[in-house]
């Protein structure tokens, strides 16, 4: 970026800003091109009579999702959520207060779906669906990372993520799509992963990884592709195949399987755990992306599906898969579908199956960033709060030094990295940097106070976002780590005792 993005000074304090109307009205993602919209079954560009069509789609969604209906009706504008959004805290734009973001849709809802709004729009806060309104929608519903932090503080449990998903779906239905999400969805549906990486490239990557691990450790750890009859199908976010620190985590998965003596494989047909269908709020698209994984699992005749470190996809997997593509009765019923790699590894450690040398991580002083969709959109294991406790227990079992960040910024209160929800695109960089402010403050505090030098996480978007934006705050990108990277460091290869 040519222009340096102005950031708040790091003090360790998260200060609520004064409101600054319109501060980020100019932040907008790029519009999706015709081919990307059409490949998903949406109109190529903004259609004639879009206003009516948009209201029609809103009506459809209101009749399909009780959640949306309740959320449109129940808000009393108490303001509890107003200072909870990382984008509001980072930008001060009042439309980034969750309640105001929801109001952008609620104004239209009142106008077309409530008696008060139809009769007395002025008194009811109802507004027509106009070009100006659509403009605001496109801007501000793409300044929501659907992290659901606001929903934790809402006395009615209103979830802004659902509202922004619905808004994006309505916009897509009239041909106003967001380039990044729709392009990525096109690739995953066409090639099998978000990067558009074809099978030969994937095979190369895995081979290279095998050589790398063997060279470093002297042990031949396999990273198999499309092996029919493997016990486990591993579905990882595709960034795990090449980015850093993602690939260090992926390396760790392979070592865990190796030590457990469990056969596994990656699928070239479904080489992507991420499911941007959720970000654009379109049930059918989300189902199609998820269906590839089921098809691959059948094709490869695996007994179970284990998934890698990915936040929103874990939500899709844990909370939605069964509805979208279940039942998974063709898999071994002994195992949860999907199983998170963290549950899998922690169980092996607890049973003493894999051996560890914790001191391998002694140069690291680790904290854990809860990724929003894991923290608030799902669970893990069989106990409430497992999504918080399992990764922490795993980190503690492979590291000697672990420190928590401020309690208002972890577990269900965690702040989004600032790049989730389909906003991990360059044209939104200013928003992404500013939205990372709360996490940067909390991280800064433990870096100063406790000498933390590593922030581990289990989400590909978080990893990509933080490595990109933390440097704007003067924090090196090397603090960002995969949880399985820590496992990978500590695991003693060749200590294989089998399951």
């Amino acid at each position: 970026m040519a222009k340096k993005i102005e950031t708040d000074e790091l003090t360790g304090e998260i200060v609520t800003p004064n409101i600054e109307p319109g501060a980020t009205a100019h932040y907008k993602p790029n519009l999706a091109a015709q081919e990307h919209n059409e490949s998903l079954g949406f109109p190529g560009s903004k259609i004639e009579g879009w206003e009516e069509k948009a209201i029609g789609r809103m009506g459809e969604l209101l009749s399909k999702y009780r959640s949306l209906k309740v959320y449109m009706d129940t808000c009393v504008r108490c303001g509890s959520c107003a200072d909870k959004c990382h984008y509001f805290l980072g930008t001060g734009d009042p439309n980034n207060m969750p309640v105001a973001r929801q109001e952008l849709m609620r104004k239209v809802y009142r106008r077309y779906f409530t008696p008060g709004g139809k009769l007395l729009p002025g008194l009811s806060g109802a507004e027509d669906m106009t070009g100006k309104m659509l403009d605001e929608w496109f801007s501000y519903f793409h300044q929501c990372s659907q992290c659901r932090r606001c929903s934790v503080y809402c006395p009615f449990g209103i979830d802004t993520a659902e509202v922004s998903m619905a808004a994006r779906d309505i916009m897509n239905s009239v041909g106003v799509g967001q380039k990044y999400c729709n392009e990525v969805l096109g690739k995953v549906l066409d090639v099998g992963n978000n990067l558009g990486m074809e099978k030969p490239a994937l095979a190369n990557t895995l081979e290279f990884l095998e050589e790398d691990v063997e060279e470093e450790s002297g042990v031949a750890v396999r990273y198999p592709l499309d092996e029919v009859g493997a016990e486990v199908l591993l579905i990882a976010p595709s960034a795990d195949f090449f980015s850093s620190p993602h690939i260090e985590g992926f390396t760790g998965y392979g070592k865990v399987f190796h030590e457990a003596g469990v056969s596994w494989t990656v699928s070239s047909y479904a080489s992507e755990f991420a499911n941007f269908g959720m970000f654009v709020g379109n049930f059918e698209t989300m189902r199609k992306v998820a269906q590839r994984i089921v098809d691959a699992a059948r094709e490869l005749k695996v007994k179970r599906i284990i998934v890698g470190e990915c936040g929103h996809a874990w939500r899709v997997g844990y909370s939605f898969w069964n509805t979208l593509t279940g039942p998974f009765d063709f898999l071994d019923p002994k195992h949860r579908t999907p199983t998170h790699i963290c549950e899998f590894t922690l169980d092996l450690i607890k049973r003493g199956v894999i051996r560890l040398d914790k001191s391998a991580n002694d140069d690291l002083n680790v904290t854990f960033h809860d990724s929003c969709n894991v923290a608030r959109g799902s669970r893990m294991g069989d106990k409430p709060g497992g999504q918080f406790d399992i990764p922490r227990e795993l980190i503690r079992s492979v590291c000697n030094n672990f420190v928590e960040m401020d309690q208002d910024t972890i577990r269900e209160f965690t702040y989004c990295c600032g790049g989730g929800g389909g906003l991990l695109t360059d044209e939104l960089m200013e928003l992404r940097v500013k939205g990372a402010m709360p996490r940067a403050q909390a991280l800064h505090e433990v870096m100063e106070r406790n000498g933390v030098n590593t922030m581990a996480m289990i989400c590909a978007i978080c990893k990509a976002q933080f490595t990109k934006v933390l440097p704007s705050y003067g924090i090196g990108m090397d603090v960002v780590a995969s949880v399985h990277q820590l496992v990978s460091n500590a695991i003693i290869l060749g200590g294989n005792r089998g399951v």
Partner: protein, 202 residues
């Protein structure tokens, strides 16, 4: 309906009209929600895993506003004070609707009066907060202020009738029992009561 004054006719019509709108609205809304599918699980963290857990969570939210407490202590304090005192004041008001007056309603009499006073103060506080915090000011609609102003006015007129210019409570009860038993009688022409009554219309 001979014998009923024009004023009474207006008030009686409004009472029944308000009740009809209120009940119909509730039924329509509840039916609408019940009839709409919820295909995807949307947990509201921290989500309980058992039925007793769900009941406890719901009870906590409904009775103690636990999420609001996490969100904003000042709003919670004002909001909780308002709702609790409103509940007590309403309980006290059942004395105008029931014959004979149940013990619990009779017992709510004296504290109900003070609850009414506190409720009015809480409404003033909530109004001020809405108006002075820049975040809530920017999101507040006419309807948000209007509801608070209306409730404040009801509280105020109620308190005046209790502490300053007493109204004829026997006549008030007569009028309300007339409404409740569908044998409406004339409304006592006390201006304070005429202002105090219309809360249900909105």
């Amino acid at each position: 309906m001979s014998g009923l004054s024009a004023l009474s006719l207006v008030y009686i019509a409004l009472c029944y009209g308000a009740a009809a709108v209120f009940i119909t609205g509730l039924v329509v809304k509840f039916y609408g929600y019940a009839a709409t599918p919820a295909p995807l699980k949307i947990p509201t963290t921290p989500a309980p895993t058992t039925v007793p857990g769900v009941i406890a969570r719901l009870a906590g939210e409904a009775l103690f506003f636990t999420s609001l407490f996490k969100g904003n202590k000042w709003t919670w304090a004002g909001g909780y004070l308002f709702h609790a005192t409103l509940a007590l004041a309403l309980l006290r008001h059942l004395r105008y609707f029931l014959v004979p007056v149940p013990d619990i309603v009779a017992m709510a009499g004296p504290p109900g009066v003070w609850a009414g006073a506190l409720m009015t103060l809480a409404v003033v506080y909530l109004y001020m907060r809405r108006m002075t915090v820049d975040r809530t000011r920017s999101i507040s609609l006419f309807a948000d202020y209007f509801a608070l102003a209306l409730i404040g006015l009801i509280g105020l007129t109620g308190l005046i009738m209790k502490f300053a210019i007493r109204t004829d409570v026997t006549a008030v009860k007569g009028f309300i029992m007339g409404i409740v038993t569908f044998h409406p009688v004339n409304i006592p022409p006390d201006i304070l009561f005429l202002v105090h009554l219309p809360w249900r219309w909105f």
